[in-house]
Symmetry: C2
Subunit: 452 residues, 2 copies
């Protein structure tokens, strides 16, 4: 069973066999590794094509097949692959379930899934069942049952499922991870994070452009507004938790010496999307009658087995600057990203915030030291490069992925659990232990070194 191999063990073994460069420099830079990874892609929309672009320029990747029901986005994806000088991929997409035909192929090692949320788990499960690595976009699951589907299928098939949480690789986020592991903040006590991003122009558009004006969604919408907005109409909970909780889970060793124990969640009234429709489409627009269930601000507070607390905010319907609102606090210091400041006892001037710049340079994570040149130009400030690189390198080594099915389940579970809590007057709700107790024995694997 592959899931019994820890990455640390794997690295030891392969290092002994001379497969890993002995001087610590990454394989890909040393040019010593000619193994190829054969990838397929389900979902070639904007997010999928971003991943395809990053895969297409890699010498160690072959793109076997791509799958989408939208011919236009398939055409755009083929163009990207062609421009990169790669062989034309096989195309699937005659209907919504054609991905299962693609998964029958024996020339695919891993599958990147970047489809609407409601398809993520189904596709990841089928991918693992087909004996292939699953790389699934965020969130990975929509219900608690789907969280269990990911975990159970992983355990039954032995195939890894990596949640493609790019923010775990953000440069500042990784520098802080480095500092956390070096004990700069002391023992972890409290963290904050969230997804605070004015998405009104994404959830609502004119049916022609993804971020344009307009107040349409669903059938009349374009891109994400076609499917994403239904979650704001019908669900009241933190419907997009992983960009915030992913990095915090790494700081707190969730599922690896620690776990989420319970949460409470509180929703405000819903005003932002309705107001936006009225202001931009008029009171008589049919969508002005839509009742959005999603509260404008959702505040979730998680308790961990190691007795830390985590505030997770979801705030996507109001005018505001983008912020993931990170705060990491321990017995020796605190970091906040909104003011780009930290305080380290004994280093910072007493009672004064200090700019992070100097620290983030000094504690730049080895991955960023090794790969920043390659990562630059990739999406979202470089972090997209790292997440695809980690997937490809894991597949190449037949090793566990640095973020796995247990992470996918625990992080994604925040959505249905927060809905439950809100529906029950904010009472506390217990997290399932998706590791079935193994969190006590599992060890951290994410970004332990500068390899991948």
């Amino acid at each position: 069973m592959r899931n019994n191999i820890t990455r640390r063990n794997f690295v030891k073994k392969t290092a002994a066999a001379g497969l890993v460069a002995s001087l610590g420099a990454p394989n890909i830079l040393m040019g010593k590794d000619d193994r190829k990874v054969r990838l397929a892609f389900i979902g070639t929309g904007m997010r999928g094509r971003n991943h395809i672009s990053l895969a297409a320029i890699r010498d160690d990747v072959t793109i076997t097949a791509i799958c989408d029901i939208d011919p236009e986005s398939i055409a755009k994806a083929k163009e990207i692959i062609k421009k990169a000088g790669k062989k034309e991929p096989e195309v699937y997409g005659k209907d919504e379930w054609d991905f299962k035909n693609m998964l029958l192929r024996d020339d695919i090692d891993g599958v990147i899934i970047a489809t609407p949320w409601l398809w993520h788990t189904k596709m990841a499960v089928e991918t693992m069942k087909a004996g292939k690595y699953a790389g699934v976009e965020v969130s990975a699951a929509n219900t608690l049952e789907e969280c269990w589907d990911l975990v159970n299928t992983h355990e039954q098939t032995g195939m890894p499922c990596m949640i493609l949480e790019n923010v775990c690789y953000r440069k500042d986020v990784m520098a802080v991870l480095n500092m956390v592991r070096k004990g700069m903040f002391g023992e972890m006590i409290h963290a904050e994070c969230g997804y605070q991003h004015d998405l009104r122009g994404v959830k609502l558009n004119d049916g022609k452009s993804a971020y344009g004006k307009g107040v349409e969604f669903g059938e009349k919408g374009y891109s994400e507004s076609k499917w994403r907005t239904w979650h704001s109409v019908n669900r009241n909970g933190d419907i997009y938790p992983t960009h915030g909780i992913g990095p915090v889970a790494e700081y707190l060793n969730i599922n690896r010496g620690n776990r989420f124990v319970s949460l409470t969640s509180t929703a405000t009234k819903s005003r932002g999307l309705h107001n936006y429709i009225v202001e931009n489409g008029g009171e008589d627009h049919p969508n002005a009658k839509v009742e959005f269930k999603l509260g404008d601000v959702i505040t979730t507070v998680i308790k961990t087995a190691n007795e830390e607390s985590i505030i997770v905010s979801h705030d996507t319907n109001l005018p505001r600057p983008y912020s993931l609102g990170f705060r990491v606090q321990g017995t020796k210091g605190i970091w906040m990203d909104v003011n780009q400041s930290l305080y380290i006892e004994g280093k910072s001037q007493p009672h004064q915030w200090e700019n992070t710049e100097k620290y983030f340079e000094e504690y730049n994570h080895p991955l960023w030291k090794n790969y920043s040149k390659l990562a630059e130009g990739a999406g979202h400030g470089g972090m997209d490069w790292f997440v695809i690189n980690a997937f490809v390198e894991s597949v190449k080594r037949k090793a566990p992925t640095p973020m796995d099915a247990y992470d996918a389940a625990a992080w994604s579970a925040i959505t249905p659990l927060s809905e439950q809590s809100i529906a029950n007057g904010s009472d506390a709700v217990a997290f399932p232990d998706f590791t079935r107790g193994q969190w006590m024995r599992r060890e951290p694997v994410f970004a332990l070194d500068g390899d991948y």
Copy 2:
């Protein structure tokens, strides 16, 4: 019953009678008002003497009596009063209950209470029963029963009880209040606040100086460490909520068109105070054996009747810069104090934080416009001046105080309610409606104009 007089009505009446200056300039600056307010003080420690200093320099205040069981602090208070050129006050303090003898006097209009927390309610209740205005330091009550004591006594006696929450008068806090009332942030949706202040050196000291080194408290401690620290030993909840919640309550019109409905509260492990004792006193110091019940970070989330949410943080045992962590968010914009920034839709550059400076100048509250010269030099950046001024002016006019017994009760109730929630696994706990339904009809009175 005095509590049936709204301040608005009072201002109308007195204006009609020519008592309030017709041009809008404050009475005190116009020198038209020679009414005197006769004050007494219970508690002449550091906080009490700060209030005494502010009262002593006012022409409209007579200091009738002071009360404290500590002769040293009585002596210091008398010195302040003497230096200000005021008549020597009568002194009470032969035992802890001597304040009741002081309250028998008929030459006292109002009493300022700045004693250890466990005395606040008892003293405020006796003050009201004696037919005098009570001005009580924060928090005003320690248990739910004490919250009701304040409200019930106020209703039975008709005497006002003002919670002396100075942060409601902080310059930026009041500018934001002005902006909230002008609709700059749109409809209120969410707020954050708290008390985030490294108090390790206050809760623990050397028994000689209030903020010095040392790891003593209780009998061997000095100043606040004599009594405040016991709350960290014995209670697990937000034990100091009002500096944060006071201003937010004004923004959201709590008890005046809105109310707190319920809260959840989550506590982390307790590490900070123990670590501090070990680091500064050694592992063998007797206090290294003390088990502090107070979690280092307490996160409380309140829901209001108008469906806003409020995060209240309590964080006093860890190394960190001071921050009350204000955030005010509505349908049109957001303010955060930690990065001194705001975003106002249609004014700020899209998706960009904007510095607050320009706005706070433009929307400087009329109170600060009128009184900043007098306030400067008073404690805590001027806000202490305003809170004493508001008390004195209320007494002078025999008007309701701008913060009252219902505010004192609702704000202070966060402590026992958060303890309940934490003790019950963070389940939601309902707030009592201290107004008995009158919140639906009561109107805002706090700082409506530039008068007091």
